[in-house]
């Protein structure tokens, strides 16, 4: 099929992009990597009246170290750039590992870090990753900006707090604390297939191996990435025993996720996967924590 007719804007600066978005209001739609949006338009599942293409806005393509040891990632940074960037692997080794699981090279060569977040696909890796890493998002509009925590950003499937005139401009990843460890676990029919359930676990331990912080984020098992509260309640302040981890896994799978039955698996099976993957993920993350 072919996309429905639309106006096409290709601003070359952030200011111009914001001005265009402001003037378009609800008619405007940001085009980032386009790996979800253009197919959706090809099938007329998306019919924006106007596209604001950010691919010519050079100032949105960057990965910068922050002085505290974190990173600032421009919204248009391609997935394949994030995947191969040495600074990213040094400061956040979990990031390239997770990004590699996104589709395949052609998609990652176009798809962008910020685009995936703004798109908010409940089965996508980067939104969950941003929650697990406590990312902060710089949201800009003409004449204003605000910071939103990743945890507060996702409202539902393909829904975020972004207003039509706003644009996600930058993703800031705060530094991994000393004593951190992370793990990514997913199950799909085949390696490159759609994840039936997936979990990103980030833990922090003190020098006595006590758990200082734990962020277990699940996706593909609910409408948004799900940050587990149970894991914190049970594990923080304690040395994580196998029993405690098993208890966390059990509780999360029972109480905190809301998987549906769809073509990729039943709800019952996905709950089971959550239990297994949380246990494996936490075990691996604590083993890696140092």
């Amino acid at each position: 099929m072919k996309p429905a007719p639309f106006e096409y804007y290709a601003p070359t600066s952030v200011e111009e992009a914001l001005a265009t978005l402001q003037s378009l209001g609800y008619d405007g739609k940001v085009l980032a990597g386009g790996q979800s949006l253009i197919p959706a338009m090809n099938f007329r599942m998306a019919r924006p009246a106007a596209l604001v293409d950010l691919n010519k806005v050079k100032e949105l393509f960057y990965i910068k170290p922050t002085s505290d040891g974190g990173l600032a990632i421009g919204t248009m940074t391609r997935d394949s750039v994030v995947e191969k960037d040495p600074l990213v692997s040094e400061r956040f080794p979990i990031v390239p590992y997770v990004v590699k699981h996104i589709a395949h090279p052609q998609i990652r060569n176009r798809g962008t870090f910020g685009g995936a977040i703004a798109h908010a696909d409940p089965a996508a890796q980067i939104p969950a990753l941003s929650v697990a890493l406590q990312a902060r998002f710089l949201v800009r509009k003409q004449g204003g900006e605000r910071w939103v925590n990743a945890e507060d950003f996702f409202m539902g499937p393909f829904m975020t707090v972004l207003e039509p005139e706003e644009m996600l401009a930058e993703v800031v990843l705060p530094p991994m604390a000393k004593g951190s460890g992370a793990s990514y676990q997913q199950v799909s029919r085949q390696k490159g297939g759609y994840a039936q359930a997936a979990v990103i676990s980030v833990v922090v331990v003190d020098e006595n191996k006590r758990c200082k912080d734990v962020r277990v984020v699940l996706f593909s098992v609910g409408e948004t990435p799900i940050l587990s509260q149970t894991a914190r309640k049970i594990l923080v302040g304690n040395v994580p025993t196998a029993e405690a981890i098993a208890e966390v896994a059990e509780k999360i799978s029972k109480d905190e996720v809301d998987p549906g039955t769809d073509i990729h698996g039943t709800a019952e099976y996905r709950r089971h996967l959550v239990k297994v993957l949380v246990r494996r993920g936490l075990t691996e993350a604590f083993e890696r924590a140092k």
Partner: protein, 1015 residues
């Protein structure tokens, strides 16, 4: 419209495009046909890959306006034929060269994408690991190769580009294609116990070709052949690697309209009212047709010989729809957009009817009747009142007596899914009237001659006024053994007088193309304690979907092949007791049809899972148990006297059975004896939730349909001593043009290069029934040999005369002449060249066109045999299966071309692996397809593949002039049961239904656990 300026293959372009046009659409519109349309338009298949500023991207997911100021590269900018008359060029890019030489090109539809992705990779990383290569091409789906040869090619290109092989050695002064030399010791001796070492890399004179392992029987070794048996380059590889416009849609025609079809949204309904007026009034619409506008002619879409062995139950358009996706109306318009818009303007009122979505409901007493049309023409036992498209009852021996004689009887039910052929080139056809008012149908088909014959009455044209052209085909696998969409374009060309292009989208492939018949199969087997099978019974419920097309023949083969393998031992060997009953029923789901293997994979899943379970229960070695009961050389094919695709059956003795050697070779390669039954091997250190398992399946197929399949060939000699070989046989990417040319070259004593192959065109080439039933190398090959022998005889006669004229003292008779090295040589060494013979014949003396024809049909269908092995790792907590390794040792008789033949095995194993673990088509309660794209319907990618290994056990099949048997379908048969048996070996879970998805295995494991708890 917007202006966009960018560099395309280094040349600045200024194009004017619509805002919403994708780069894929723009490039193809401008004639860059090397960029392929995979039908998805969502970046899932990668056929449309281009390089954008040096990086591979999907041009379907990129707007053309976005490439402003960028560099775009397509295959057209990569390399070209080095020798273009007086103009010499730099030639092919080394990557292209390596793809050609490694046998990485089968249908060639995804080849440009592979070449570009490889270029991007090697420019950044000149020394990639295999894993990095696999990752780099993971976005390009290939359904033909199994990725092994493309990966080998890219690694080889990398080594060339690093300068590890002298670049000069690549270009020989004979130009392209390079004649490949081959090792004299390409064959391997019998497998020693243990490993082979590294036999895959054989160093040729200057280049390396990856050869499969070979076991050559003494009968084969005696034959000294110069072209047959050699890894000759594929004759169409050079054009495919350049992305030349070789496929059906790669053409422009002035005024060509785009066709679209309105598909039914409901599973079963009558069309109460249909209003086309709004659609017809839309500017740019040339025609809109519904059932009222065209003649009502009943036919079958199955691409089979006359008479079609199945019911006639289909109309181009009907007043009734029988599945979600069935046809309601056809539209032809100036553009795709207008055609799409017109579809939305068609008003249809449906009178819904109750639908049958589960085959088990089809024959219930009050089931709705799917085919109530008076025109329905029965075949055999078909009975539309009972929703029965076909019925088969075969009793061989005395099955009940056999069961009485058994010590134990094993019964179980197995289920196999509906799966898609998923060729990357969708169904596509172009039709137009030529200057003689004959209708030309340029179509992606496996059966050009059947298309012509079947469509003539449907279109109201005599056969003689239709010409069907088969260009290159981007994969078929049986999906194109169907007269599926040619009629749509043809009706619209008749209605408008204009050329029409109709190209399926990927979604249409899923909702409105054919698939593998899903079946439920009950096995009942009687066995003595020593492992002798006394009786074997299979009862099948086969779901043909809404139309009968291949229902009878596919389902017949389910039993005919899989139930023929185990005849039993001792007295049962002479008089086996076998029963095969099948009901083939209609349901309101998309019709099933032909898919590589043609019913046989459905049979071997139950048979080989059942044999494994029996042998384990009796405490017998699973392989010894199978071999004890398997059919042997010189025995009667038990089904040959019982059934033959709806025709009269005649007895067939099986002459060659390489099964035991296949087992021996396959076991050695996979290391069976070190692994099977060895508890240490079954565990993975540090990962208590992982278990390893190993499994086997023995299989057999057929080679062509006896007394039915016919192929023809003609050969004519040119002035320079080269030959045109014209065949009706239909190369759909398999390499059949190449092996046919090799056989002709063998007989005529010339390099393959001197044989110009053309296939197929109903105006120019002799008849061939088409590419199916594993028949081309055998049937069409024998026809080529006959035609070549005809030509050789004429050459020899003339050569003898010419030699006598030149050497009056020499006595030479034509029979003594040897054709070799482009010469006709007398026993004393005197010779004339073939070019001299040709000039003499065409211009000098007693002039004649030296040409020959041959056609062939076979009284037998000699079965190939194979032992297929799988190694798996199972995660017993999640149910996830990783298939680590597949080994296939296959007796396909003499192998004409080891590289193309191993490509068939690797690609077949890969498709079969999808059937084993992840592919299935399922419908919701309204009959709507659940899987409609290649994201939800996952087929294997390059970075997900197990290790694939092939061993050819070459027997010499006496019924063929070069001793060949079939190769293409048999790899589909044993992978799923071998994986199922390996899963059982790994974790004790019995899975009766494939694909073995993680969830299905998890449930089987839970089941096993609850049984264990219960005890």
């Amino acid at each position: 419209m917007k202006k966009v300026s960018f560099a395309l293959n280094g040349i600045v372009q200024h194009w004017e495009v619509a805002d919403g046009e994708t780069l894929l659409a723009s490039l193809r519109r401008e004639g860059y046909f090397g960029v392929k349309f995979g039908g998805c338009e969502k970046g899932e298949c990668g056929a449309c890959t281009v390089l954008l500023d040096g990086k591979p991207v999907n041009s379907c997911s990129l707007l053309t306006v976005q490439v402003e100021g960028c560099h775009v590269q397509t295959i057209e900018g990569m390399g070209e034929h080095p020798d273009q008359g007086w103009k010499k060029t730099a030639g092919l890019h080394p990557i292209q060269q390596a793809l050609v030489e490694s046998g990485a090109i089968q249908c060639g539809y995804c080849t440009p994408a592979f070449a570009l992705a490889a270029k991007a990779l090697l420019e950044k990383n000149p020394n990639p690991s295999e894993e990095e290569v696999r990752e780099a091409i993971a976005g390009i789906l290939c359904r033909c190769t199994g990725y092994l040869k493309p990966v080998q090619a890219i690694l080889k290109a990398a080594s060339i580009l690093r300068g590890e092989v002298d670049e000069q050695d690549w270009i020989e002064d004979t130009g392209v294609p390079l004649p490949v030399d081959w090792p004299s010791g390409a064959d391997q001796s019998p497998a020693p116990a243990g490993d082979f070492g590294s036999p895959e890399k054989l160093v040729l004179t200057r280049r390396k070709v990856f050869m499969p392992r070979m076991f050559i029987t003494p009968e084969v070794r005696q034959k000294t052949l110069s072209r047959v048996g050699k890894p000759e380059l594929k004759v169409d590889a050079i054009k495919l690697v350049q992305g030349k416009p070789a496929f059906a849609a790669d053409m422009e025609k002035r005024g060509m309209l785009i066709a679209k079809v309105l598909h039914s949204p409901v599973a079963h309904a009558r069309i109460k009212h249909i209003d086309l007026s709004k659609a017809r009034a839309l500017p740019g619409v040339a025609a809109v047709l519904c059932y009222k506008d065209i003649p009502r002619v009943v036919y079958s879409t199955a691409g089979q010989s006359d008479p079609i062995p199945g019911p006639l139950d289909t109309f181009s358009l009907d007043s009734k729809v029988r599945f979600v996706g069935d046809r309601v109306a056809f539209v032809a318009a100036e553009t795709e957009e207008i055609a799409e818009q017109a579809l939305n303007l068609i008003e249809v009122e449906y009178e819904p009817l109750p639908a049958i979505l589960d085959a088990r409901d089809a024959m219930k007493p009050n089931a709705p009747i799917i085919h109530d049309e008076p025109e329905y023409v029965n075949f055999g036992e078909s009975n539309p009142q009972r929703n029965l498209a076909a019925q088969i009852h075969i009793d061989i021996g005395d099955v009940e007596k056999g069961f009485e004689e058994a010590d134990r009887i094993y019964e179980a039910e197995y289920v196999v899914p509906k799966v898609q052929q998923a060729h990357i080139e969708p169904h596509v056809v172009v039709t137009y009237w030529d200057e003689d008012d004959r209708l030309v149908i340029r179509t992606s088909t496996q059966v050009p001659f059947h298309v012509r014959r079947i469509l003539a009455p449907v279109l109201g044209l005599p056969v003689k006024r239709i010409r069907v052209i088969k260009p290159r085909i981007g994969g078929g696998f049986g999906g194109k053994q169907e007269v599926l969409i040619e009629d749509v374009a043809a009706h619209l060309t008749i209605a408008t007088g204009r050329p029409v292009l109709y190209e399926y989208t990927r979604e249409e492939e899923f909702i409105a193309a054919r698939s593998r018949h899903p079946m439920r199969i009950r096995m009942k087997t009687g066995v003595k304690m020593d492992g002798t099978i006394t009786a074997n019974e299979m009862r099948v419920l086969s779901d043909t979907g809404a139309y009968g097309c291949h229902g009878l023949t596919v389902t017949g083969n389910t039993g005919h092949k899989s139930m023929a393998l185990y005849v039993g031992d001792g007295p049962y060997r002479k008089s086996p007791n076998i029963r095969f009953y099948a009901d083939v029923v209609y349901t309101n789901t998309p019709p099933a049809g032909a898919y590589r293997g043609y019913g046989v994979p459905q049979g071997f899943w139950p048979v080989e899972r059942h044999m494994e379970r029996i042998s384990r229960d009796l405490g017998l070695d699973p392989i010894a148990f199978r071999l004890k009961n398997a059919i042997r050389e010189g025995e009667l094919h038990p089904f040959s006297t019982a059934w033959s695709e709806g025709r009269e059956p005649r007895p067939e003795i099986i002459q060659t059975v390489g099964l035991e050697e296949c087992v021996r070779q396959g076991k050695a390669v996979i290391g069976w004896d070190q692994k099977f039954g060895n508890p240490e091997w079954h565990v993975v250190a540090g990962k208590p939730y992982l278990r390893r398992g190993i499994g086997v399946a023995l299989v057999m197929q057929g080679t062509a349909i006896p007394y039915l399949d016919m192929g023809g060939a003609s050969i004519k000699m040119n002035d320079d001593g080269s030959f045109n070989l014209l065949v009706g046989a239909t190369d759909l990417g398999t390499g059949s043009d190449t092996v046919l040319a090799q056989m002709a070259a063998e007989v005529l004593g010339v390099p393959v290069d001197d044989i110009i192959v053309y296939s197929s065109d109903t105006d120019f080439t002799p008849f061939d029934k088409g590419a199916y039933a594993s028949s081309t190398t055998y049937i069409s090959g024998a026809a080529v040999v006959k035609a070549a022998e005809d030509v050789a005889e004429k050459i020899k006669k003339r050569a003898a005369r010419m030699i006598k004229e030149q050497h009056p003292s020499v006595q030479v008779s034509p029979e003594d002449i040897l054709l070799e090295d482009r010469k006709a040589i007398a026993p004393g060494g005197e010779y004339v060249t073939l070019a001299q013979v040709a000039l003499n014949a065409l211009h000098h003396t007693d002039q004649e066109q030296i040409m020959g024809i041959g056609s062939y049909y076979s009284p037998v269908s000699p079965p190939p045999f194979a032992a297929q092995f799988a190694e798996v790792t199972v995660d017993v907590e999640t149910g996830q299966i990783t298939v680590d390794r597949l080994v296939m040792a296959v007796d396909s008789g003499v192998i004409v071309n080891p590289v193309t033949a191993s490509g068939q095995i690797e690609g077949g194993m890969t498709q079969a692996l999808g059937y084993a673990v992840c592919e299935e088509m399922v419908y919701d309660q309204y009959g709507r397809a659940r899987e409609k794209d290649l994201v939800d319907y996952h087929i294997f990618r390059a970075n997900e593949m197990p290790k694939l290994e092939t061993v050819f056990v070459q027997t010499y099949e006496p019924s063929h002039p070069f001793g060949v048997k079939a190769v293409a379908e048999i790899p589909m048969d044993g992978v799923a049961p071998a994986v199922g048996n390996a899963v059982l070996d790994a974790c004790g879970a019995d899975v009766f239904e494939n694909p073995i998805t993680p969830e299905r295995l998890w449930r089987a494991l839970k089941e096993k656990q609850s049984v264990a708890d219960h005890h």
